[in-house]
C-alpha cells in the first residue's frame, strides 16, 4: 500500500499499545444485545488501503461490526480505532424522503450549483442520470441502492464501509458497480470493508476475506490472485470452495468447474 504511517489524531491521543500504522484496529471487541452476545471478541487490524470482504450468515453480526467501525454503535468492551473520514453504504438505502435524489447524494456538501453538478456526475456513474430530480419514494429498489452508493462514493473517505451494497442489483448493473468501486479504490486507496453474501464477488474484489460465524472471526485469508481475477483460475475455485465450506454450504456440483 502506498500510505505512510498515519498522523496522530490531535483530539484523541493514541491509546498506549495500539498500532499506529493500521487504519482499522479492533481488539477484543464485544457487543451484547439484550443479554445475547452478538460479537464475542473480535480482533481485526486493517492497514490503510486494504480491501476486506466480510462473509457470514444472516444474523452473525456483520452489520454490527460495520456499525461499530462507522461510529454509529459503541462496543461494550475492547479497543476500537478507525480513521476519522468514513463513508458508509447502509444495508438499506436510507434516503431522506423529503429531499430529491440529487440532494440526497450531496447531503453532506454545501448544496449549491457545483454540488448539483457533482451529484449529477455521481448519479450518471451509477446509471441514474434520468432520476436526478426524482423523489426517493418513486425509485425502484435497485435504483435506491445505487443512489446510496453514489452518495457514499461522492466523498473521499479513508475507510469505506459497504453493507451488501449490490444485493438487489442484476448481474449487469452489479458488474458496473464493481468497476465503479474498483475505480474509486484505485483513485485514493481507502481501506474498504465490504459485507457480501456473494463469495465470487468477495474473491473478485477483495485483498483479504474474513468469515464471521456466531460473532467470531473463523477464517481470515489473503487473496493472492493477480487482477483481473478469472473464475477459471484453479486457485479461484479452491478459495471459493474453502470459503463455502467455512460457511457450511453443501458443495453444488456446478461450483466445481
Amino acid at each position: 500500500m502506498s500510505s505512510a504511517s498515519p498522523a496522530l489524531h490531535p483530539l484523541d491521543p493514541q491509546p498506549a499499545g495500539a498500532p499506529t500504522d493500521m487504519a482499522v484496529h479492533l481488539r477484543d471487541v464485544r457487543r451484547v444485545f439484550s443479554g445475547r452476545e452478538v460479537l464475542g471478541g473480535i480482533d481485526l487490524s486493517i492497514p490503510p488501503g486494504e480491501f476486506v470482504a466480510l462473509l457470514g450468515h444472516s444474523g452473525t453480526g456483520k452489520t454490527t461490526i460495520l456499525r461499530i467501525l462507522s461510529g454509529l454503535d459503541r462496543a461494550d468492551a475492547g479497543t476500537v480505532q478507525v480513521p476519522t473520514a468514513r463513508s458508509v453504504v447502509f444495508q438499506e438505502p436510507r434516503l431522506v424522503p423529503a429531499k430529491r435524489v440529487w440532494q440526497n447524494v450531496v447531503i453532506g456538501h454545501d448544496q449549491n450549483r457545483p454540488a448539483r453538478e457533482t451529484a449529477i456526475a455521481a448519479l450518471r456513474e451509477v446509471g441514474l442520470g434520468q432520476h436526478v430530480d426524482a423523489w426517493p419514494k418513486t425509485l425502484s429498489g435497485g435504483e435506491a441502492q445505487r443512489v446510496a452508493l453514489a452518495r457514499a462514493l461522492a466523498v473521499e473517505p479513508d475507510l469505506l464501509l459497504l453493507d451488501e451494497p449490490f444485493a438487489s442489483l442484476d448481474a449487469l448493473t452489479r458488474m458496473r458497480m464493481h468497476d465503479l468501486v474498483a475505480q474509486l479504490w484505485e483513485r485514493h486507496h481507502p481501506a474498504v470493508v465490504l459485507v457480501t453474501h456473494d463469495v465470487d464477488e468477495a474473491i473478485v474484489l477483495a485483498d483479504r476475506i474474513i468469515v464471521l460465524n456466531a460473532g467470531r472471526i473463523t477464517l481470515d485469508v489473503r487473496v493472492n490472485l493477480s487482477k483481473p481475477r478469472l473464475r477459471t483460475d484453479a486457485r479461484f475455485g479452491t478459495l471459493r470452495q474453502r470459503l463455502l465450506d467455512e460457511l457450511g454450504v453443501i458443495s453444488q456440483p456446478a461450483r466445481h468447474d
Binding site: 484523541d12 461510529g71 461494550d76 473521499e156
Partner: protein, 301 residues
Amino acid sequence: MTDALATLAEGASVARSRAPAGGRISRSPQLQDLSPGEARSTRWRQASPWQRRATRLLVPVLILAAWQFVSEAGLVSTYVLPPPTAILAAFHELIVTGELQSAIVTSSARALSGLVIGGSLGLALGLFAGLWKLGDDVFDGPMQMLRMVPSIALIPLFIVWFGINETAKIALIITATAFPIYLNTYAGVRGIDNKLIEAGIIFGLDHKKLARRIILPTALPSILVGLRYSAGSSLLALVAAEQINARSGIGYILTIANQNQRVDIIIAGIIVYALLGLALAAFMTFVERLFLPWRTDIVLG
C-alpha cells in the same frame, strides 16, 4: 439506541473536518478512538440523573427568585404580583379549608369525563376523516369550524341547550378536547407509510383490522401528542365551564378570585395549573413509554 446516537456526536464533529477535496493518491488517515469507556469530552448526556433533575428545577427556581426580588424591590405593585410568600399563604388558606383538595377532585372528574368523551369523538372522527374521503368531506369542514369557536362564546348557547348543571360544563370540555385529538389523529393517519398499509391489505386485513392492527399502533405517537394537548385543554376549559353555576372546582376558584381581586389566589391557581401541567407531562411520558415500547429515541447530546 439513545447511547448509540449519543456516541455519534463525536464522530460527526470530527468527520465534518474532512475536506471533500481533490484527487490525492495516498493519504495517511486521521485516526479516531471509539473504544468504549474512554474518557470523552463531558457532555450533557453524561450528566448524572441528579444533575439532570437539578437542571429541571433550575428554571422554576430562577423564576421564583426573580419574582421574590421584583416584589421586594417594589418594582411591581403587590396588587398585580404579590410576593411568593403571599402566594404561600393563599395556598395555606386553600388547603386548610379543604377547598383545593375538593376542587381538584371535582374538577378532575369533570375534565376526565369531558376528555374521555371528547377524546373518543376526536379519535373516531380523526380516523374516519383520515382514512376515507367521505369522512374527510363530511367531517373535516365542521371540525375545522368547530375548533375556532371561542368557548366563552359558547356558554350562553350551552346554557340554553344543556341547562346549568353538569351537562353544560362537560359539553364545554368536550368541545375543547375533541379537536386536538382529531387533528393529530388525522395527521398521524395521513403520515403512515403507504407500504405498511399495502402489506396489511395484501394479508387480508379489512378496514377495521387495518385500523386496529396497523393504523392505530403506527399513528399512536401522533395520537398521544393530541392526547397531551387535549388533556391540557380539558383543564383549561374548566375556567370557562366552571363559570356555569359551579360551587367548586379549580376554574371556580379562579373565577371567584378574579371577581374578588384576590391576585394571590389567582396566582396560586395558576401555579396549580402549572403543576397539573407538569404532572400531566410526566404521566404522558409514562403512557408513551408504556404504549410505544418499540420506539427508539434520538438524542444528539
